[in-house]
Symmetry: C2
Subunit: 354 residues, 2 copies
């Protein structure tokens, strides 16, 4: 069980340290190797995804990532942006299936900005396509063109999906729905975009393979509304890379505790990259304030999806539930009457609960 560990930037190293402690406390044999990605890799090598990192990631069975990015690299040229490290790994390793659960932990119900009756018991899985769409489509660029009789800058990108890309992500989503509530909502903008008309057509075709799953369709603008209006209407949602970026972040914020939410990005063989849904939070980096639970839960997802260690995954998840029940809270989820702890202490608590 070879794991490539990529702490990344900002709070990445702190939260990763706790996840690694938790993994090491299990009675399993991991081989872990650490490498640079994102801003720290730019600083060290000028490249957000150094060749050595890519090789290590390829050789590993799974990748555990902290977070990348920060204002420090905002003024760097586009080819030195930390995010390119992330996008590069996704694309190079064909990690096309991004699974992002949005779960409300009962102990943290108050953290949501939504009324308790709207979000109590919330448990949505968003399946986002991750290696296609406008993120990677060619052609793209900024150039001078003749517009209205003068030379002007024009920027453009290409949204594009081929049949096989849509089909494989839909299959992942249908399979996920089979293991859950058997309801799948496919999100598109078919009334405007041909790309997503094809998406809808193929969703309908693939649904024939999964007669037990109830497939519905929703336009992306309506989906953004329905997530606010009545999020519990959803079981599994599936959508493209761009819409998935927006909707999965919106959905995770419904819980009010994005510091608790893991994610998995899988290829066709269940090799995967696992990372918290939150960002690198440069403002609190290095201060022992960050919540390590999303990273720890990402490690649990890794055990489940890549290593088929369901028991160990559940052991971690139970430990996390226990520390919440015991009242341990990092600053992001703190409320009066609970025990405020730092990143490391939260790791201690999880280890104790294991």
């Amino acid at each position: 069980m070879k794991i490539c560990v990529l702490p990344g930037d900002g709070i990445g190293p702190e939260i990763m340290a706790q996840a690694v402690r938790v993994l090491n406390a299990l009675d399993l044999q991991f081989e872990m190797e650490e490498a640079l990605v994102g801003g720290c890799a730019v600083d060290a090598t000028g490249n957000p995804l150094p060749e050595a990192t890519l090789q290590l990631a390829r050789a590993a069975d799974a990748i555990l990532l902290g977070a990348v990015g920060g204002p420090k690299w905002d003024s760097h040229p586009r080819n030195q942006r930390p995010e390119l490290g992330l996008l590069g790994i996704r694309k190079e390793l064909a990690l096309f299936a991004n699974l992002r659960p949005a779960i409300l932990y009962p102990e943290l119900a108050n953290a949501s900005t939504l009324k308790p009756e709207i979000v109590a018991g919330l448990d949505i899985l968003i399946v986002r396509e991750l290696t296609g769409d406008i993120y990677f489509g060619q052609p793209r660029g900024i150039e001078l063109r003749e517009v209205n009789g003068e030379s002007q800058r024009v920027g453009w990108n290409t949204m594009i999906y081929a049949e096989y890309e849509i089909r494989r992500i839909l299959r992942v989503a249908f399979e996920a729905a089979m293991k859950r509530g058997k309801r799948l909502c496919s999100v598109d903008k078919m009334n405007v975009l041909e790309t997503t008309q094809l998406w809808r057509d193929i969703a309908i075709e693939v649904s024939k393979e999964f007669p037990e799953v109830e497939l519905t369709h929703m336009l992306v603008d309506n989906a953004a509304m329905q997530l606010v209006r009545n999020p519990k209407q959803f079981d599994v949602m599936v959508t493209g890379n761009m819409f998935g970026d927006i909707l999965s972040d919106e959905a995770s914020m419904l819980t009010g505790s994005i510091g608790m939410l893991p994610s998995a990005s899988l290829n066709a063989d269940n090799k995967g990259m696992y990372e918290p849904s939150h960002g690198s939070a440069p403002d609190i980096a290095g201060k022992d304030l960050a919540n390590p639970l999303a990273t720890i839960l990402s490690a649990a997802m890794m055990l489940r999806y890549t290593f088929n260690q369901e028991a160990a995954a559940q052991r971690i998840e139970r430990a996390v539930k226990k520390v919440l029940a015991q009242g341990y809270r990092t600053g992001d989820i703190y409320e009066p009457g609970t025990k405020r702890v730092g990143t490391r202490e939260m790791g201690d608590a999880v280890l104790a609960a294991l």
Copy 2:
């Protein structure tokens, strides 16, 4: 003051009838002519935007629209979709500036799914570019291509913006911010999309013309989160057509009363199309259940922006506030203790309050 009245589909005719009554009750001289657009136009002529309608719209100073679309036309070919009527008017009349307020009326605070302290006093203006972006970009389509050694369907669209398009919508947004809280948040995805890198560059250039306005930038995924986390942090938001479609719907749903929200789509000379932010609600069409207030408030926006009749606009807006204070509610905003009324009765109440 020539108005082209387009009732459209679903609840469109009912809500429009009330807005027309309100306009006729003012001591102003309007010339109103009605025409077909959307699904009803498809039924009558096979074309969602008949030439006669387009001519009337061009000849008018302002267009008042109800709503278009419905499941009835879902199986029609793409060139007969009701939405094409709307998109066609926007494009043909160069209505590039879409203004969508998201306002929480104190009387309707309970309607929101968000906690009162998060949304009380909410007053955001979303400025959405409306005639460019991936909505209209060429090339686009679905075709068979050779992919991975076999013939597959591929769908694609083009996100594209020229400098002048970005500059003019940014100016509208800065001007709107000048008349409000002087804070403008420009939303993009510059870490991935070149088109929106250009957007951000030009936003910064245009900001030099408006030194009093504080310009900030936010990535679209973060914006979708922040609208849920703390919507009151925003004054004016500006973004492209696609992101604006998603974020403006999300923002309007924060109020819980999308039946109250008007919108304006303006060209460079303040000629405009005015319409409620909600859809055609085919499920309640013809039942005298729909809320006509968003359409009535759209008529007020028309008086303000196109006809420069600020006093008359405020007169309508005051009347709407008064009927809310009096407790009149259509089903969408009803709560125990208020007076449930139908579409026409709500119109009566506004007329009485005028």
